[in-house]
């Protein structure tokens, strides 16, 4: 593995010097330092807006759209779904702390009993199955709408994902997610870092590439390309397809570990979902 990672690390500079010894917090601080140096005029919280942090034309269009955002319908539909009780009389509020309101900043977390990363969307389906309901699809549709509503209630909360140093499972899951981010894949042989770390701010066809910092704060997203609201897990599959790699299943172990890593990196930034992108 070191043979694959090392060249990327040398190009990426700061980020991988002490991979074996550095923990999540060191990674996060290195990211903050790297992007602050690269984009000195961008305030830290602005990275949560992705390409709009440095693409002025796209930003103007986005600001105007935010006046009457396309995800508004998804939030309303999501709220209706969230508040509708299950057949057994219980509801989503019974599965989450604080009734599921304003909790997204705590996800994903590592469930030590189950030995896996639990994302908000996985938790939503766990809740359904625990109450005798059929699970929903993970990329679009009803689950994305419920996620949109829960994200909306969590706006302004600072991302607060935990990777407890004394839980080897959590540490390993975070490390696996990080390794995925830096691993080249697909016929185009790109790693996530190739675009979002090395080439952040540069143009990829008509879009500018967003930074790793702030990537996880604004999900789920109404992507104009999709014409509907979609989850971060869907975007992972799409990004993998775009480098001509076989996309993995939404909420697969790899993608959940990846979301765990990405979310931790955005710790301290305010959640601003659901978002809209092109």
């Amino acid at each position: 593995m070191k043979k694959i990672i090392l060249p990327l690390c040398l190009i990426g500079g700061l980020l991988c010097g002490l991979t074996a010894m550095a923990g999540p917090e060191e990674d996060r601080l290195a990211m903050v330092e790297y992007y602050s140096d690269r984009f000195p005029d961008v305030p830290l919280q602005e990275f949560a807006n992705g390409l709009y942090a440095f693409d002025t034309i796209a930003r103007e269009q986005w600001i105007e759209m935010e006046d009457f955002p396309p995800y508004e319908i998804a939030i309303e539909d999501g709220q209706a779904l969230f508040e509708t009780p299950f057949a057994n009389g219980k509801s989503y509020a019974d599965c989450f702390e604080n009734g599921g309101i304003g909790v997204k900043q705590n996800y994903p977390y590592f469930d030590t009993d189950a030995g896996e990363v639990v994302t908000l969307e996985l938790a939503i389906n766990h809740c359904r199955e625990a109450n005798g309901e059929e699970p929903l699809l993970y990329m679009i549709g009803a689950l994305a709408e419920i996620s949109a509503y829960m994200a909306y209630t969590s706006r302004g909360h600072e991302m607060a994902v935990k990777v407890p140093a004394d839980k080897p499972g959590a540490v390993a899951a975070y490390a696996a997610g990080k390794q995925f981010y830096y691993t080249r894949r697909g016929q185009l042989n790109f790693a996530c870092s190739s675009c979002h770390i090395q080439s952040a701010g540069l143009k990829l066809r008509a879009d500018r590439l967003s930074t790793t910092l702030g990537q996880a704060t604004h999900w789920p997203v109404y992507r104009s390309k999709w014409g509907e609201i979609g989850t971060l897990q869907k975007r992972f599959a799409e990004c993998n397809s775009q480098v001509w790699a076989k996309p993995l299943e939404a909420q697969s172990v790899e993608y959940r570990n990846l979301e765990y890593f990405l979310s931790y990196i955005s710790n301290g930034l305010e959640l601003n979902g659901p978002g809209s992108r092109r």
């Binding site: 006046d67 009457f68 396309p70 508004e72 319908i73 014409g227 509907e228």
Partner: protein, 104 residues
Amino acid sequence: MGKPIKIRAKIKGDFAEIKALMPHDMESGLRMNPATNQPYPAHYITDVVAELNGEVVMTAYWGQAVSKNPYVSFSIKGAVAGDTVTLRWNDNKGDSSEKEVVLK
């Protein structure tokens, strides 16, 4: 009766800026259903009418090419506080939806 139109109206100087989001499938009739190998039946807004105090000020002819849940924004010159703006769409299935807003 179609899904309700979401409308926002703001007076800006000597005109009123109207923004509206219209939940609608906007099915073009060309998209294929992989399960049946038949196209999803066409279902789209054919025209949009805006009225100021009951008088038509804009008629827009839409069709298959407009995307799902269309957003429309336009300005009405000479609209003042207290005026009523009505926005209505009609679709190819004979369905319609109408929303009224009183300008402040």
